[in-house]
């Protein structure tokens, strides 16, 4: 009913290998994009943007980045917070050193710098595997945070060690700083999300993505069929860090505006992004979005229900929130260990046949 694919015939290889082979999916994709770009900017207010949309979009970028490394290449990383900090500080240094260059270029450059740093910290992955690697990437996490806290050059010798984003404009509209209109910061992040998701999607289904997945499924076998593990693992680290760096830069410049490295990019951030991709579904771009949406909106949603609708004391709600989030995570894993993306896939399969499953 909802899902019509009868009559959806392919006559060329291009048509068969496109991102959304089913016409309905394609329409839906364009529809979501159109709503996101053309409708939402007129509807949003400060609360929706700052409390829900910006964190959702920015964490989505980070989750896409980590998903490339963990979901597609199988290298578990807990250094995400540290790499986001690299992006944020690179962006800050660039913004203050070259105030005349467009902020969007700074964000991309910050991603590039993070890619270099990420590749460096990815070197041990050639020897260390599995959970050992995960813990090893924590070395990057703790070292980077310590470094940014310690070396005053990174925060331009300010008295407190905090960095705050100066006001920058795109097409004459402020996108960083306190006077940014909600829709502008939303659109900037949306542009980057779309850009990152497109790149990620196309990389993962190309030659590089297939190499990554070969490494993930069994690295020795991959080596035998001619995949160079050095190249595959390091490119995965580079691409992943590039995305994570962009998200860190946006997190600092557009979303928070001022950060302190230990608080904003601490170990909790690394765990949070990892939770997102596992809940969302490893090895799926949609999973990255779903996981980010789940972990960003669920606490806010529970808070709204508990405090605003039911009028419970805030501390009880905060505690119950932990209980509920924990229970939901366990429930989802028991019901569907492969994450929300898998649930979505199953739902789609069902919808294709509905209402006549036989």
């Amino acid at each position: 009913m909802l899902y019509r694919e009868a009559g959806d015939y392919k006559t060329s290889y291009e048509a068969d290998s496109q991102t959304f082979p089913i016409a309905f999916d394609r329409y839906r994709y364009w529809f979501v994009l159109a709503v996101a770009f053309l409708v939402l900017p007129f509807l949003v207010n400060d609360y929706v943007v700052n409390a829900l949309l910006l964190p959702f979009l920015i964490y989505s970028i980070a989750a896409i980045g980590l998903n490339i490394l963990t979901g597609y290449t199988g290298q578990v990383s807990l250094g995400t917070g540290g790499f986001m900090a690299v992006g944020a500080y690179a962006c800050y240094k660039l913004m203050t050193a070259f105030p005349d260059v467009n902020i969007l270029i700074h964000v991309l450059l910050a991603g590039g710098i993070t890619a270099i740093v990420g590749t460096l910290f990815g070197l041990p992955s050639l020897r260390i595997k599995g959970f050992y690697l995960a813990v090893a990437t924590l070395a990057a996490q703790f070292f980077l945070v310590w470094l940014f806290n310690k070396v005053a050059w990174f925060y331009n010798y300010s008295a407190s060690g905090q960095i705050s984003a100066p006001e920058r404009f795109v097409f004459g509209v402020a996108v960083t700083g306190p006077n940014t209109p909600a829709w502008a910061s939303y659109l900037v992040c949306l542009v980057f999300v779309t850009f990152c998701a497109l790149i990620a999607r196309n990389l993962t289904r190309g030659a590089l993505g297939r190499q990554w997945m070969a490494i993930r499924d069994m690295d020795i076998a991959a080596e035998i069929i001619g995949v160079n593990p050095l190249k595959a693992k390091l490119t995965a680290f580079a691409v992943s860090s590039f995305f994570v760096g962009i998200s860190g830069a946006l997190f600092f410049a557009v979303y928070l505006g001022a950060v302190e490295v230990g608080e904003a990019f601490g170990i909790n951030k690394s765990f949070l992004v990892l939770f997102m991709i596992i809940i969302g579904g490893l090895g799926s771009i949609f999973g990255a979005f779903a996981g980010a949406a789940f972990l960003v909106t669920l606490p806010v949603f529970l808070k709204l229900i508990g405090v605003d609708l039911l009028g419970w004391p805030t501390d009880l709600v905060a505690h119950l929130q932990l209980v509920v989030v924990g229970l939901l995570i366990m429930f989802f894993l028991v019901k569907e260990p492969h994450g929300l993306a898998q649930l979505w896939r199953v739902a789609k399969e069902k919808l294709r046949l509905w209402p006549f499953p036989h």
């Binding site: 839906r28 979501v32 709503v35 996101a36 939402l40 509807l43 949003v44 207010n45 400060d46 609360y47 929706v48 700052n50 409390a51 829900l52 949309l53 964190p55 959702f56 203050t96 310590w146 806290n149 300010s158 008295a159 407190s160 060690g161 905090q162 705050s164 100066p166 006001e167 700083g177 306190p178 006077n179 979303y255 928070l256 505006g257 001022a258 950060v259 302190e260 230990g262 608080e263 904003a264 601490g266 979005f289 779903a290 949406a293 909106t297 606490p299 806010v300 949603f301 808070k303 709204l304 405090v307 605003d308 609708l309 004391p313 805030t314 501390d315 709600v317 905060a318 505690h319 932990l322």
Partner: protein, 428 residues
Amino acid sequence: MKMKTLTTLALTSALVAGSAAADLVIPDLSYRTGPYAAGGTPFSDGYQDYFNLLNARDGGIGGETVRVVECETGYNTERGVECYESTKGEGALIYQPLSTGITYQLIPKTTADEIPLHTMGYGRTSAAAGEVFPWVFNYPANYWDAASVMVNYLLEQNDGSLEGKNIALLFHNSAYGKEPIRTLEELAEEHGFTFTQIAVDHPGQEQKSQWLQIRRERPDYVLMWGWGVMNQVAIQEAANVGFPMENFIGNWWAGAEHDVTPAGAASDGYLSLNMNRIDTSLPVFGQIDSMVHEAGNAAGDGSNIGSVLYTRGMYAAMLAAEAIAKAQEIHGVADVTPAMVRDGMEALEITNARMEELGMAQIGPEFSVSCENHGGSGLGIVQQWNAADAEWVALTDYISPQDALIDGLIAEDSTAFAAENNITPGCL
């Protein structure tokens, strides 16, 4: 699909958040969970209970009832932003986030939204320069005052000279902990003492290295800028290495009951600063007990009444209420706006007579705020923990900081901030 669900969700929340009423709305960004809950809970209890008392006793402020909107931040910056955005739409009059991270977040945001921000003894020190930070207030005292008050206290103890002494600063390795370093460096130069910095990384559960270093180097005094678990461990470790407690001074966020009780009797004699006096016999506590707690309107379970942080939260609420009353007086309307409250804060004057009238005589120093000075008088007292009776005893009267030095540092930092952010200093 998910976009749509998200939008629906967002719209519902906007509807819920947008239900404004015509009271005086005071948001309370509290944290009763997470690593700093032990400090956040009593402060928030005191903050809310005082407003509830005003409602019960005086029918609010100037005839307008006060509505406290509590929002749990868990000391997390992102949740702080969410709380700010969800409460500002309700007509929030004044913010008191009790977190350095959230404060730095809110300084530009509240300035753009024109809502006053009161960071009482925390946050950004140079915000005392009212001409650069017109919407931010950090009276009655700030961290640089605290460092200077500590040194002045030590000067007093050493007959006016710290020449050749060795003073160590044990600090939380974060923006908060690093605040006093500049001031102490300047003071070290001026008074000729050696200044050692000892950093403790978050969360600060393991401080063996730091305390072995203190034991080796035997500084004459150790000052501490700590918060959360770091305080309890530091006091325990100080007792372990046999560092004399009366030479160990915490700042005002490292001097509450829960900081010293885990170490038991070993913590006896520990010193800390305070910006307000601790006196459980103040009449206001009796009123809170009878009019708020017995009526079932209390924020907490009542176990915190009169404790250090409860008193400070109540003191913060009193300052906010007085500023609102001042604003009502200036503008002649009861239903004030945030901008009016800012004017009230800038014209705030706290006198002994007024504090006595409010049932909290001598709770804080007398001070007045002006457009140039948002920082108050900077006075602080030194208090000592008596483990046997489980109470804090004030050792000194209010001690003044070295104003000339602090003012110079504030001017320097705020000018730099103004230049970086294209702000032309001036009164509103």
